[in-house]
C-alpha cells in the first residue's frame, strides 16, 4: 500500500515535470516526435533508478558517517556523470540493440536536472529506506516519461495546426505545457 501511494504520488500528484519543474530542458527539447520522446524516457528511467541507488548508498554509508554532508552536491553530480558514461560503455558491449535505442540520449542526461533532483529528493523522504528511495526514483521516471510522451503527441498535432505568427515555437509549447500542468493539478490532494 505504501508503495502504491509513492507510485501514484510521483506519477500524477507531484509529477516531476509538470508540478516540480525538474527536467524541463529535455521536456521542451526532445518532445517534437513521439519516437524520440519514448527513447529519452527509457534512458531517463534507466539512469534515474541506478543513479538514485548509488547516491543513496553513498550518502548513507560514506557522507553521513564521515560528516561530509556538505559535499553532497559535488559528489552526486560526479557520480551521475560517471554513471552515465559507464552505462553507455556497458550498454554498447552488452546490449547493442538497447544502445541503438537509447545511446544518443545518454550524454544529454548528465545535465538533466531531474536525475540530480530526484537523487536529492529521495534523501528527504519520510523514514526512507533504500528500497523506497529506488522505488520513488523509478516512479518519478515513469511520471517523466508519461508527461514527455503525452506532450510529444500533442506537439505532433500542433505541427499541422494554424498558429498565430507571434506564438509559433516556444510560446505555444509553453502554453500547451501549462494546460497539461493544469490537467495534472486536478490530481492534487489524491494522496
Amino acid at each position: 500500500m505504501e508503495y502504491f501511494v509513492i507510485l501514484i504520488g510521483a506519477v500524477f500528484v507531484n509529477n516531476i515535470v509538470l508540478s516540480q519543474f525538474l527536467g524541463i530542458c529535455p521536456f521542451l527539447g526532445v518532445s517534437n516526435k513521439i519516437s524520440t520522446s519514448v527513447g529519452m524516457s527509457g534512458a531517463v528511467m534507466f539512469v534515474m533508478t541506478i543513479a538514485t541507488t548509488v547516491t543513496y548508498l553513498l550518502h548513507q554509508y560514506v557522507l553521513v558517517p564521515f560528516e561530509l554532508d556538505y559535499l553532497r552536491t559535488i559528489t552526486f553530480i560526479l557520480v551521475i556523470a560517471a554513471l552515465v558514461q559507464m552505462v553507455e560503455i556497458i550498454l554498447k558491449k552488452v546490449s547493442p540493440p538497447l544502445y541503438q535505442a537509447l545511446g544518443v540520449f545518454l550524454p544529454l542526461i548528465t545535465t538533466n536536472c531531474a536525475v540530480l533532483g530526484v537523487a536529492i529528493l529521495a534523501l528527504g523522504m519520510e523514514d526512507s529506506t533504500l528500497l523506497k528511495a529506488v522505488f520513488f526514483a523509478f516512479s518519478s521516471a515513469i511520471g517523466f516519461g508519461l508527461a514527455l510522451i503525452v506532450f510529444a503527441s500533442i506537439r505532433e498535432f500542433l505541427e499541422l495546426a494554424d498558429i498565430p505568427e507571434g506564438m509559433k515555437g516556444v510560446p505555444i509549447n509553453l502554453l500547451v505545457a501549462g494546460l497539461l500542468s493544469l490537467a495534472f493539478l486536478g490530481f492534487a490532494g489524491l494522496v
Binding site: 509538470l18 508540478s19 516540480q20 519543474f21 525538474l22 527536467g23 524541463i24 530542458c25 521542451l28 556538505y70 559535499l71 553532497r72 552536491t73 559535488i74 552526486f76 553530480i77 560526479l78 556523470a81 548528465t110 545535465t111 538533466n112 536536472c113 540530480l116 533532483g117 536529492i120 529528493l121 507571434g166 506564438m167 516556444v170 510560446p171 505555444i172 509553453l174 502554453l175 505545457a177 501549462g178 494546460l179 500542468s181 493544469l182 493539478l185
Partner: protein, 201 residues
C-alpha cells in the same frame, strides 16, 4: 586573439539578443520552479549570477591547464564548488530564502546556462571578456526571473515584493502562483519579448 571583442556588445547581448531565458531557453527549471514571487526570482537570479561569474573567472584563468578531454567534468567540479558555497552562505545568512528555493539551490549545478557559458565563452576568451560576458548573461537571467516572478506575484497574489495593494480577501488569479501559471505567464512574456525586440531590430 583574432580581433578585440567589443565589450559593450559583449555585455548587451546577454540582456537582449541572447537573453538566456526568453531567447536561448537555458535554465528553464529554476526559471519556472522558483518564480512564484518577485523576491524568490530575484534571489535565485542573484545566486545564479554569482556562480556564473565565479565559474567564468576560474575557467578563464585555468583554461590552458585543463586537458581538452576532461574539460566538461572539470567545469562541473568548479561549478559545483561555487554552488556549495552559495548553499552554505544562504543557509547561514538568509535561511528564509534557503527554505523557499529548496532543491533548486543544489540544482544550480545543472543549470545549462552556466556550463554553456563556461564551454562556449570562458574556455575560449580572456579574463576581462569572460567577466563582462558573465555579468551580462547573469543580469539577463536576473531580470527575466524577477520580471516573471513579479508578474506571477501581481496576478496571483495581488502584491509585489510582499507589498500588498489589494485586500487579503480580494479574489486574485491564484492560478498564476500554481505550477500551470508558470508555464502560461512565461509563454506570454516570451511573446511580448519577441514583439519588443523585433521592433528594436
Amino acid at each position: 586573439m583574432a580581433k578585440p571583442i567589443d565589450q559593450k556588445q559583449n555585455f548587451l547581448k546577454g540582456l537582449i539578443k541572447e537573453n538566456p531565458v526568453f531567447v536561448m531557453l537555458l535554465g528553464m527549471c529554476p526559471t519556472l520552479g522558483v518564480t512564484s514571487s518577485a523576491f524568490n526570482g530575484l534571489g535565485m537570479g542573484v545566486a545564479t549570477l554569482f556562480v556564473l561569474l565565479m565559474s567564468n573567472i576560474v575557467v578563464s584563468l585555468i583554461k590552458s591547464q585543463i586537458p581538452n578531454k576532461v574539460r566538461i567534468p572539470a567545469f562541473i567540479v568548479i561549478i559545483a564548488s561555487f554552488v556549495t558555497v552559495v548553499e552554505m552562505v544562504l543557509e547561514a545568512y538568509i535561511p528564509f530564502l534557503y527554505e523557499q528555493l529548496g532543491i533548486f539551490i543544489p540544482l544550480i549545478v545543472v543549470n545549462c546556462l552556466i556550463l554553456g557559458r563556461a564551454e562556449a565563452f570562458a574556455s575560449k576568451n580572456d579574463l576581462a571578456s569572460s567577466v563582462v560576458d558573465a555579468v551580462g548573461m547573469g543580469l539577463g537571467f536576473v531580470i527575466a526571473l524577477t520580471v516573471l516572478g513579479a508578474t506571477r506575484e501581481i496576478l496571483g497574489n495581488g502584491s509585489l515584493f510582499e507589498f500588498r495593494f489589494v485586500s487579503e480577501e480580494a479574489n486574485t488569479l491564484i492560478l498564476f502562483i500554481l505550477p500551470p501559471g508558470a508555464f502560461i505567464a512565461l509563454a506570454y512574456l516570451a511573446i511580448l519579448f519577441n514583439r519588443l525586440t523585433q521592433k528594436v531590430a
